[in-house]
């Protein structure tokens, strides 16, 4: 977010920022949709139709474990790979292609370090959906949420000098982010309950 946002506040650079933001979003959408379709396909083959109810119950149990993990009650090593996107791509391939590659990498979801266990639940939900199309839609929604910060951040500052302050402001509110994350996982438990007819 901090890497591309300041550009939109610099006169003459709005077009470059737009190209970068689009390239980043499209890149992530391509890989996220593919990953989601793969999980949906796996679910279609691995989970029998008759076990659909059981798979939703499994998702609810996984979600409860994730709440325990993300609130710090349980210690589970589910952070994904311990790497981040390569900042050098921007210099090697130029700003637009670099942003596209950055999006492609982050869109893979599990190729970089994760803050919370949400992506694993998204993967489980895509499997439970039993459909490559729905799995793809679930991961595209995940990516939309993830990329939204890049599109919204320019609204949050009035000048390029303010960008670092905005990032600090967000970092000071990580407890709110954690709360929303746990609320989202809790909502998944309710959805699983509704899907099984238990709520």
């Amino acid at each position: 977010m901090g890497a591309m946002t300041p550009l939109v506040k610099v006169a003459g650079y709005r077009d470059l920022w737009l190209r970068k933001a689009f390239a980043y979003t499209i890149g992530g959408a391509v890989t996220s949709a593919s990953i989601g379709a793969t999980f949906g396909l796996v679910g279609q083959f691995v989970i029998p139709d008759a076990e659909s109810r059981v798979s939703w119950i499994g998702l609810a149990i996984l979600s409860l474990i994730a709440v325990g993990r993300d609130t710090g009650l349980m210690r589970l090593p589910i952070n994904g790979l311990r790497r981040q996107t390569d900042g050098g791509w921007r210099h090697a391939f130029g700003p637009t292609v670099g942003s596209f590659l950055w999006g492609l990498d982050l869109g893979l979801v599990f190729s970089t370090r994760l803050a919370y266990s949400g992506p694993w639940l998204v993967a489980a939900a895509a499997c439970v959906s039993h459909s490559p199309l729905t799995g793809s839609a679930i991961f595209l929604a995940y990516w939309t949420g993830r990329a939204s910060s890049v599109w919204v951040e320019p609204l949050m500052s009035t000048s390029v000098r303010e960008a670092p302050a905005v990032l600090s402001w967000i970092n000071e509110r990580l407890s709110y982010v954690r709360l929303v994350n746990v609320a989202g996982i809790g909502m998944l438990v309710i959805i699983a309950g509704l899907a099984t007819g238990g709520v």
């Binding site: 679930i138 929604a141 910060s149 919204v152």
Partner: protein, 54 residues
């Protein structure tokens, strides 16, 4: 004018935090209509929460 800009800045900043709250708000009614759509809504919230990624 500067004071007005200072006043607007926190309001603008909250825009980012309002997005998932709205999504969470619509998820439950949506779940009663379409489970897949509600799952997508939650997925967007979980994607947004990766904002906290290092």
């Amino acid at each position: 004018m500067a004071a007005l800009a200072q006043c607007r800045t926190p309001v603008r900043r909250w825009t980012l935090l309002i997005i998932p709250t709205v999504l969470l708000g619509i998820t439950l009614p949506l779940a009663r209509l379409d489970v897949a759509a509600a799952t997508c809504s939650v997925a967007a919230v979980l994607g947004w929460a990766q904002l906290a990624s290092p």
